[in-house]
Amino acid sequence: MESTTSQIASLSPDDLETPPLNLSQLAWQRFRRHRPAIIGLVVLTLLVLYALAGSLFFSEKYANFNDTSLRLQAPSAEHPFGTDSIGRDVLARTIYGGQISLLIGLTAVVVETFLGILVGALAGYYGGLVDSILMRITEAMLNIPEIFLLIVMAKYFGGKIPELDVFGRTFSGSVVVIVLIIGVTSWMYLARIVRAQFLSLKENEFVLAARATGTRNIEIIFRHILPNSVAPIVVSATLGVANAILAEAYISFLGLGVQPPTATWGNMLDGANNYLESAPWLWFFPGLLILLTVLSINFLGDGLRDALDPRGRTV
């Protein structure tokens, strides 16, 4: 008896109180209930594992090894996904291609998000002349069809960057070019979203209060207003990954993207286009992987949109 009372007395406020949920915990609770998003997350994780863990079983050399005597073999025990037009193993190539495609998707979105936030935040916060100039540039970029921009830039810059060695792997310089091109041609929508967010958020009293405390503009932009608009940015960035993977597939399909022997899901499709009927396994597997990735990312983005929407306060 005595021990229980002394136990209670020794409890500090920390022990008694369940710590309140912070914003990310609330978001996770809402996200968990979004079934398609969870499925998307699981599938995407499996795909990433597939691309990363697969390289433990096959070397890149094997993926690029060609033996024309084995060309265009249908799926078999030895080559589960078949072989391509010069006898390379399609399974190994989807694994290494997956790494490049996912890498392009993620890094292109980093470029896109950086540019989009920078342009949108400055335009929205400062308004006036800065806004006019930045938004006219944005609109000009939007008015040119993206695929056209992609093709012209890929043609112009392609092959200008030498091969790179990263983590012991050799990347064709065209990967970097493609990442930059996709980033530079896709930031406009995000910039508009961020600008709209800033236009409304900067009217909040907490911005005036921050200014009245002597906070500098640059800090108000990036440390006070930006965290408030994180939800639409995260959602847009997620969907951007899917778009970047698709964009890479377009230009690679047109033969302007990442150059063989480096595999990507996109340029594997390019290699398949003469054999659509005679060797369907050439386009089926990379096509299926692109489809699954884009679909699961879109589900994930949907779930994030609902989870991060500050109006959805219910848990």
Binding site: P20, E205, L208, A212
Partner: protein, 329 residues
């Protein structure tokens, strides 16, 4: 007591699609060190805009500070660059706002928001700033402050948020606190607590306060002197006792008449002031209160009365008429 802030002939306008809004039309006032000055007047009379102008916090454009000086310890704040003002805001002059629900950033923790100004102005490191923050929260009456640093604003009630705002304002020991209707959004018991808190802290740290409000009850409790504003002009300036006992401007007298009082018969209706304030879109000619004033004489319609002394102790009014006799002065 030496003068801390002296504003002379301040004029602020806003350029809007409907035309120029004459928000503040040449007001002059001063605050001495450690003194509490109340600024009263109805909504839209230029109370907040004049204080925001002094801190250069009105948006330019559409706003424009068309003239005047604001001498803070002898230096004109209106001539300072944005960078120089950043060093003064929060450190020398702090400000708290009307709605504590919206003036804290919803996605940053309370601790972050208070330590921010300590890091900006005092160059404190994270640990020192946190220690000081706990001290400040204790001072404004938040219980168990060290456990609340990681909390977000939505976990605080309205009164507690206003306490947090006050803690932010006090962080760097400012010599002047501008409180822009800090109790308007709070219920009466919390209002009383906040008024008491500010009074207590003011006496502790010898800080001057400019208290903007339209609640004359609060004014009586807190202020040393009062200025009454109407349509962008100061119409009366007096010590708080002189103002309540002996209002000399028709507007002030009408305002006090509209106030419910414990020592008055309750079966009578409160007197309201007929009409509405003039449009600020028209450059004012004559006295702005003419249309609603019961003492109007011919001169009021053509000439705007300047602020002139009546009686002792800086009791100034802007009126052509002596309201006790109804005769021109």
């Amino acid at each position: 007591m030496s003068t801390l802030l002296e504003v002379k002939d301040l004029r602020t306008r806003f350029h809007t699609p409907e035309g120029i809004v004459y928000a503040v039309n040449g007001i002059s006032f001063y605050v001495a060190e450690g003194e509490t000055l109340a600024v009263v007047g109805e909504s839209g009379c230029g109370k907040s805009v004049s204080m925001l102008s002094v801190l250069q916090l009105i948006p330019v454009p559409p706003g424009e500070i068309a003239g005047g000086v604001a001498l803070f310890r002898g230096q004109d704040l209106l001539k300072k660059s944005e960078r120089e003002m950043e060093a003064i805001r929060g450190q020398e002059i702090a400000m708290i706002f009307q709605d504590p629900m919206t003036s804290l950033n919803p996605v940053l923790t309370i601790g972050r928001q208070i330590t921010e100004s300590l890091r900006i102005h005092m160059g404190m490191d994270q640990n020192a700033a946190e220690a000081r923050t706990v001290e400040l929260l204790e001072m404004v009456g938040i219980s168990d402050p060290s456990h609340r640093l990681g909390d977000y604003p939505h976990q605080f009630s309205g009164g507690m948020r206003q306490r947090v705002m006050i803690a932010i304002a006090l962080a760097c020991n400012p010599s002047l606190l501008i409180a822009d209707e800090p109790t308007t959004a709070l219920d009466v018991t919390i209002q009383a607590q906040i008024v008491e808190l500010v009074t207590k802290i003011r006496n502790q740290v010898h800080m001057a306060v400019i208290w903007i409000t339209h609640d004359l009850g609060v004014v009586a409790g807190i202020a040393d002197r009062v200025i009454v504003m109407y349509a962008g002009f100061i119409v009366e300036e007096a010590s708080v006792n002189a103002l309540y006992e002996n209002p000399r401007h028709p507007y002030t007298s009408a305002l006090l008449g509209a106030l419910p009082r414990m020592d008055r018969r309750r079966d009578r209706r409160l007197k309201s002031i007929p009409g509405a304030p003039p449009s600020l879109l028209v450059e004012p000619h004559g006295c702005p209160f003419t249309a609603r004033c019961e003492f109007t004489i011919e001169r009021c319609k053509t000439e705007n009365p300047p602020l002139t002394p009546v009686g002792q102790n800086h009791h100034n009014i802007a009126c052509w008429v002596d309201i006790k006799t109804g005769a021109p002065r």
